[in-house]
Assembly symmetry: C2
Homo-oligomer: 255 residues x 2
Amino acid sequence: MNSEKLILVTNDDSVSAKGIHSLVEVARQFGRVVVVAPDKPQSGMGHAITIGHPLRLQKNNLFGTIEAYACSGTPVDCVKLAIYELFKGKPDLILSGFNHGENTSTNVLYSGTMSAAIEGAMEGIPSIGFSLANYSADADFEATQYFSEKIISEAFKNEFPKYVCLNVNVPNLKKEAIKGIKITQQAHAFWADSFLKREDQFGKNYYWLTGEFSDVDQRENTDLQAMKEGFVSIVPTQFDLTAYNLMNDFKKWKL
Amino acid sequence: MNSEKLILVTNDDSVSAKGIHSLVEVARQFGRVVVVAPDKPQSGMGHAITIGHPLRLQKNNLFGTIEAYACSGTPVDCVKLAIYELFKGKPDLILSGFNHGENTSTNVLYSGTMSAAIEGAMEGIPSIGFSLANYSADADFEATQYFSEKIISEAFKNEFPKYVCLNVNVPNLKKEAIKGIKITQQAHAFWADSFLKREDQFGKNYYWLTGEFSDVDQRENTDLQAMKEGFVSIVPTQFDLTAYNLMNDFKKWKL
């Protein structure tokens, strides 16, 4: 690298999460890092943006010498505020994570971490979301650090195709037990949801989302399959949702 | 139809919005309608789900004889609660809208209305989101009612491909001025965002999202193009975000 790269780091677990601090340790080797991340957990916020009320942006020193801001909005709000208000321009790379918990399969749609990366792709900025298959607050990110360093290094060495981002998932294994990295496709798997239904102290019902994840995809080379086999999974992820292969089916309707 | 169809109606503008009442008037002609919609506006919530705290579901009589519930969560929460708590099974059709404002192009990712339909597609349920290119609270939904009736009728007459939903956008024109219906693709267009930056009464800054939409897509047959020409646009919309055509590009990286 001849000129210093500008790297935006964000996440959905908030500026306090261990994961984003572990990611910053890796990212700072590659250029000037600026952190803009939510001031509170924003898991499951998907591609939500804040339009009905204003946002706050508070500078903090949680990351030592690294310039860092806590934002009152969603992960996508963080990306927009960084580009349009802080930088008044585009960073060279957006890194989102390390997420506490995997974002394989259809979880990509619910994930604030991945939505921040997808927002980056929409801006034409090379963007990567990293997730570790471990939900605990003190998860061990050593393997995630090792593989993210390799991936970020390659992202700068190669031409990063425009309007796409990477969904990287790391199995919850020691570095030495991980077999390598695979380019995969988003598995067709779903949450069989259920709700914990209880009565509150005032006699009114409340409902709390829970559920079990079920993988129904028989194809080879899905992200879930790679993870099960002990590989890091990378899904090249786009934001064009058009089902091109079904357009002709609908053209037969008498509309 | 021999047996009565069960139709879930939701939206992101809340149970109070004119649009959902206009949609229910159409939907009730096709079967038994149950409304589960947010108790407050949820525009821009994308595919957000509520995981950190419980949800409320309050029966109401805003829709006369139609069974209706206001939910404290997001549009996707509404769909999940309807399927897993109220119905304990899948409806025959999910209708989301009528949205006050269009959801063409990349807006599909930010739209709570469309995310509810995409959630339906993930469940394998025929699902359609309808949006009118008019943001005003008292928008005229006459044309939207006319075209949605045609589309819903065809949805029941034909085989609805699984794991896909429809993103229907109606131009803000009188019914007679609309030229017809086109099956289109999601335009590659973006928000050039900016933030209104102001100081509050305590001397602290706040930031409020604004922006201008710019269509950079030169392809024919995009949703934006169809709308400009005065057609209703239907984009078949999927939830597999894998960029299959770029997988080989990334396989060349030294990972």
